[in-house]
Each structure stands twice: as structure tokens, then as C-alpha cells.
Symmetry: C2
Subunit: 501 residues, 2 copies
Amino acid sequence: MEAKLHELKTRLLEIDDLSRAGAVLNWDQSTYMPPGGAEARARQMSTLGRLAHEKFTDPAIGKLLDDLRAYGESLPYESDDASLIRVTRREYERSTQIPSTLVAELSNHASTTYQAWTEARPDNDFNRLRPMLEKTLDLSRQYAECFPGYEHIADPLIDFSDFGMKASSVRQVFADLRQALVPLVQAITSQEVVDDSCLKQFYPEDQQKAFGEMVIKRYGYDFNRGRQDKTHHPFETKLSLGDVRITTRFQDHDLGDGLFSTLHESGHAMYEQGVSPALEGTPLANGTSAGVHESQSRLWENVVGRSRGFWEHFYPQLQMTFPEQLGKVSLDTFYRAINKVQRSLIRVDADEVTYNLHVMIRFDLELQMLEGSLSIRDLPEAWQARYESDLGMAAPDDRNGVLQDVHWYGGIIGGVFQGYTLGNVMSGLFYSHALQAHPEIPAEIAQGEFSTLHAWMKNNIYQHGSKFTAPELLERVTGGPLRIEPYIQYLQGKYGEIYKL
Amino acid sequence: MEAKLHELKTRLLEIDDLSRAGAVLNWDQSTYMPPGGAEARARQMSTLGRLAHEKFTDPAIGKLLDDLRAYGESLPYESDDASLIRVTRREYERSTQIPSTLVAELSNHASTTYQAWTEARPDNDFNRLRPMLEKTLDLSRQYAECFPGYEHIADPLIDFSDFGMKASSVRQVFADLRQALVPLVQAITSQEVVDDSCLKQFYPEDQQKAFGEMVIKRYGYDFNRGRQDKTHHPFETKLSLGDVRITTRFQDHDLGDGLFSTLHESGHAMYEQGVSPALEGTPLANGTSAGVHESQSRLWENVVGRSRGFWEHFYPQLQMTFPEQLGKVSLDTFYRAINKVQRSLIRVDADEVTYNLHVMIRFDLELQMLEGSLSIRDLPEAWQARYESDLGMAAPDDRNGVLQDVHWYGGIIGGVFQGYTLGNVMSGLFYSHALQAHPEIPAEIAQGEFSTLHAWMKNNIYQHGSKFTAPELLERVTGGPLRIEPYIQYLQGKYGEIYKL
């Protein structure tokens, strides 16, 4: 068994090398690659993706997993080796259902579409992307069709990002959540709009960057094993457990955009940086689901980074960094500004309360596109109609509408957006359990001290990588399945106080 | 035949994708990778190199080449397809003689050694690198031993970079050159030392960078298909024909270091950018030899970039960029400063006249190490002794001695350095032929206009990639074999005038 396990790990390591090399090429494409590199880069990434997929779906891997099954089951469930055999088998079974040619075509298509999107979005030109997006939808359907027997065609795609969830279960969580959110949004938006003009002054980029990096160092993001660069759309990427990078963007006249993007991506990155080094080079060395991943980005961005205590500590430093802009702005005014709730058009700029409504729109549209009840041609109009009905406003153009998010233009359609809201829900749930274990955490945050919270997350979540599925992790950490109540209570408590509801 | 040719090209394209992906990882390692990424990166690059090597040495490629041989020979010698079949066969025969495991070990070892060098060099700690360098020498010998029947053990390594050359032929060129150079160096260095203090003032990095980039744009380096970043040791790298990057370094108190590095690397890059797009993804899409490559970097750095005419045009702009530093410095003083000839310690900082003496030292030491007559342990001492005897000076430490060049610490020992001097010789030879065809070139340079020279190089050299070997290219372009006379005449003419010899 030792020899077989060793062979499995050797093969997985080679596959990981190819995948991580692809991640380097993708990072470079998004950060520094000159335009002339686009065509070859798409092909190079596609080749790496295809080879990784071919090697992972090699029947020899299936044979090794068969041979190792009994051995794996004889080990403690949470041991590294048992988890490796179990999780690799699950991914192997899923991957062998997808033809290598489809994987390569998707990767190639995603890369060229992404490049086109970076140009079409500023030009507000959805039509230029339409044929590409039609192909994306077609490829996404083909992808889902590799897993027959689904209840809804989106289920296999949802399952890929959030194992154990499907369209119907997500719909249920979203319906419950909507029931609590809509009255909260109404109560808040019936009040006078908060003045956040203090955030819209001129903030030089270099100082924004320095302040954000200072904060995430304090959080525990390790710059010896990472770095931050600028991209159109912020993201986190793992090039190895020793090199987990984040990207952000800055706006001269919007302090919140760059800063909270940085905090958000640092949450993703601390998750990956916190995975046990023993899992490097295996399918276990990743966050376990989109939802759990997002729980960390939203925790560090919002639950921590937009809390009153956090700013009691950091606001004086921010004022010193930007004395002209903020010297005369009170903490209270600033705190209300960064937590301003308002119906708006852009998901990534949305506040904590309305954010999930944005996600629900995308989730529903994805389902409709995959079902075939909504064509790409009609997508911009459908987008506008949902914004009208759910948020009471329509975008002046597609740039601020259907073109705003990279996801459909750099990947597949389906199974992507639900993770954001599942993550929000989990951020509240995990935080409530961290507080039960360590009631001193809020006082520490107000001292700019995050090690207790970081350590709790690392011990309970990060170190395990994807040893446990999200439902298993929730069971281990919270003693039960996903519950929305702590998140709702968090929102009601925080915003009830701010808006005196 | 069409089908077989198509299959060959498809296979070569996949191999090229893997190799170029490796180049992206290497570029990233040298520019932006955080220290924590080093270990996994070495492994990732090694995996890519091994896979590319395995795929290139697949017997199926040999079979295709056999099947295509007669077809290739029936086509015009310089046609794309005939050249592809011919050159691929030559590289295939060479590569099949090297075991994949050795390729992987070398790549892995080179990557970790490089990382160690970036730390050991500032620490002046040769001993830390000694065991690694001993392994490098051992691996380099193993590499050479894959090609039995050599006259000198360095020959196979020289042949890899400069096909058609060997230790004895390089020694002959070097001996002839030395005979002309030594009296020139003596005549110059017996005079008063030129004052180059104007270059040693404080020059802010941003303005150095902007000026250098302005010049290479004028040269014809295409920033849509490239970019410049900072590294310890400047280099040029081709990530695809649409993405040919250069790196440089800047010193606050040495204007020449960054500027002439930029011009140098732009020459390498314009060569690669000028390769015919029809050759993309094949072994033909590269410069044909280290020597020819270096002829271009040295041409644009020295023959053009340190010429009087060049600075008649650009010096007023440089003065405007640095008015405090250069406003009162005459063109004549500046021109003498950038062409100051002086016995010195650092190869990359050496002037045109003494530069080749630095190369000869390294070349001879490489031969001795490979022969086994010089151990790594004795290398620093041997280095110092040769600098004493050839240049009349010894370095105060290893940092400015044996640790100065990356080559031995990031690759193999042997076959690397001769290309620099062969390139110098060729730069003079090619330039003399460009002038014969277009006597107006010097006048154009004095107008800051480089298109005639660039076009001549592109038509005669760049576009062909590696269709022709260096000896073939010399024959086509100059009507004969390598001759040192035009280069010697260039040096004697230029420096005879500056030093009134």
C-alpha cells in the first residue's frame, strides 16, 4: 500500500504542478501580460489545463484509488491519507465524466473571452461579447450534461463549487434569507440616505495601497508567501501553498473600493495560506467549497473590517494617512459611511444588506439561461428588469449592468454566484461560534489584534483544506447543518444600531 | 505528407506551450515571486521542462521526421517546412541523447541554486553555494558525456549554444582577438583615466526607466508585444512571439548601468520580436545561436547606443531629463564618459574594449573546470589570479569576483560565455555589411532614426529565426565565414579617435 500511495501522490504532484503553472499564466495574463501575448497565452493555458485533466483522468489513477480504497477506509476518517484517497476519488469520478477536449475548449474559450471582456466592458459593448457568451452557455450546458440524472441542469455546476448543494436547496436558503432581508432593506431605505461623501474625495493610490497592506499584515496575511497587484477584477490565486497572491484595484475618488477589496481577498488568501503544508501538491490543498471560501473573505472584509471596534483602532491611523481628507471627519460619520445601505447597481460595491439581493438576481438568471428559458440575446434586458423589480433601479448602460462581473466572461455560466451568499451566511455562523469559544475577540479587534480570531479560523477551518466537505465542516465546527439565523441576527443587530430600528 | 507534417507541428506546438509556460514561471520567479514560492516553483519548472523534454524525445517524433525527410529535402532549403524538418531533426537527435531525468534534475537544481545565489551574492558567501556549484559541475559534465566522441568535453555544450563551434575554434578566434585587443588596451590605459563622474551622480530610477524606454521604442522594440521589469540580473525572455519581455536593473548613482542594460536587452528582444510569425510554436521561432543573439544586443547597446551620432540626437533630451545633473556637462565629456576604457572587475560594466578579456577568463575557467583541472573549491582563487594577470587587478571580495554572473548559478557550467565575444565580433561584421548596403545609416542614427538599420537586421537576420545556422547565416549575409577584422577596425577607429591614438 505504501508504494501505491506513493505513486498516487507522485502523480497528483505532477498534476498539481501543471495546474499551478496554469495559475501562474493566468495571474500574469491578468496583471502584466502585454496585449500581444493574448493569443498564445490562451493556447498555453489550454494546453496545461488539458494535460492536467488528461493525467488526472488516467485510468491508472482510478486503479490506484480502487486498490487503496480499503486501506483508506481502515484509517481514521480525518487522517491525511484517508482524506486524500476519499477526496481524490470523489474528484476523479467527477472528472472522468468530462472529456478532455471539452476541458481544453472551455479553458481556451474562457481565456479569449476574458481578454475581450477587458476591452468590451469599458466600451460598453455587450454585442461584441454576445457570440462568445452564447458559446460559453453552450459549453456550460455540455459540461452539465456530462452528469446526467440531475434534478436541475445547474445542479452539477453548483455541486462542483459547493458540494452537497443543488438548485432546489440553494433556492430554499435564498427564499428564507430574502424573507428576512427585504423588510430590513425597506426599513433602512425608508430613512434618509447616509452621507458617504467623505469616502469620495481624492485618495492617492499609493497611500491607499500602503494602508490596505498594513491592515492585512495585521490580519495575518503573510507577504513572504504572497503579494498584491492590480487587476480589472480583484481575485486571489494560489500558485503554491508558499505563494498565495491577491489582486485589487484602486479608484482615486473611492476609498472603500480598493480597501475593502484588499480585505476581502486577504480573507481568501489567509484560508489558502493556512492549509497544512502536509497537504501541498494534493487535491486537499484547497479551500473546500466556494461558500466556505467566501465565508472567509466576507468575514475579514465585513464582519471584522466594517465593524465599529476595528475602526476604533484603525481610524486614527487612517486619519493620519489622509489628514486633509479625513482630519475633520468623525469616526461616527466614517463608520456610517462605510456601512451605508442603499439600493445600488454594482454587486461588488453593494453593502452587506443588499448584497445578497444582487447575488440572487444572478443566480436566478443563470438557472434560466441553463434551462433555455432565457437567451443570451435577451440577457441584458432580463438583467435590467430584475434590477428594476428587486432593487428598484435600472443601470444606465451594460457596463454597470450585465457586463460588471467577470465570472460569465472568464469561466462558465452556472454554479458560481450562489457561493457568495452561502459564504455570507457562513461568515455569520462561524463568527458566532468563534465568539462562543473566545468572547474576548471583539475587544481584541478594537485593539487591532486579530491573532485569536485568525487562530480559531486556522484551527477549525483553514488547516483542513478540503479534507471535509462544507456540510461535514459545518457539522464539526457548529454541531449542525447550515443555519441562517446567526447571520440574520448579526445584520439585524449591527444595522439596527446604526439605523436605530 | 500533409497529415504527417500537421501532426509534427501539432506535437511541436504542445511542446512549445510547455516550454513557454516554463519561461513565464521563470520570468515570474525573477521578477515578482515572493520568497515562499521558491520551493514549489523549482518543482513546477522542473516538471514542465521534463514533460517538454519527454514529449520532444518521443520516438513518434523521430518516426515523423524519418517519414518527412525525403519530403523536406525536396523543398527549397530555406522554405519554412524544409527548415522545420531539418532543424527539428538536428535538435531531436541532440535531445534524444539526454535522459529526461537529467533534464529534470538540472532544471530543478538550477532553480534552487539561482534562488540561493540571489541571497548569497549580497552576503558575499561563495561557500554557501559551493556544494550546489559542485553539483552543477557534475551535472554539466554528465550533460556533455551524453555526446561521446568530442574533442574537448566542453564541445557538446558549446555546440548547444553556438552550433558549429567547438573549444578549439573558439580558442583560435579568442587568440586572434586578444592579439589585437591587448595593445589597444595598453595604449589606452597608459593615458590619463577619463573622468566619468558625470554618470555617477544621483539619477532617480523613474526617470532612468522612462528615458530608456523612450529610446528602445525609437529603436523599434514593440511594447504591445513586450514589457520591461526589474531583476537582479537583466535578461530577455520570449513567452511567445507576441510577448517578448526584457528586464533591467537601476542604480541610483550609475546612469550607465540601467540605460545600457535596457538597450542591450532590447537588441535581444527585437531579434525575437522580428521572427516571422509563420514560425510561431516551432523550434524555428528562436534566435539561431548565442553568438548571433549577442550580436544584436551588443549592436544596439554599443555600436549604436554608444556612438557619437546617437548622442548628438539624444543628449539634449537626456539633459532635459536630468537638467541638474547634466545641464552643464558637454556632449564631448558625456560621450567620453560612456566610452571610458578602464581595466575593471565587473563584466557587465566593462567597456567595449576590455569586455572580451572578461569573457576569455570565464571561458578558460569553464574549460578547466570541465576538464577537472580546476575544482570548485579553488575557483575563487583561480578567478582572482586570472584577473590579476589579465586585467591587473583583483576583486576585494567574491561578490565582485566569482559571484558576479548568474550563469553558473542558474544553469550549467560550459558553453555559455563564448557567445558574448562571438556576438561582439559579429556585431561589427553585420554592421559593416548594413553600412555597405545603406551608407546613410549613420546619418539616420544622428537623427534618432533607426528604421533602415532595424529593417536590414530584420530582413537579413531576425525573420529567419533559426532556419539557418550561424555559419549559414554568416555565409548568406556576409558571403563568407566569421571574420574578426570589421570588429577590430570598428574598435580601433572609434577608440583611436576618442583617445587620439
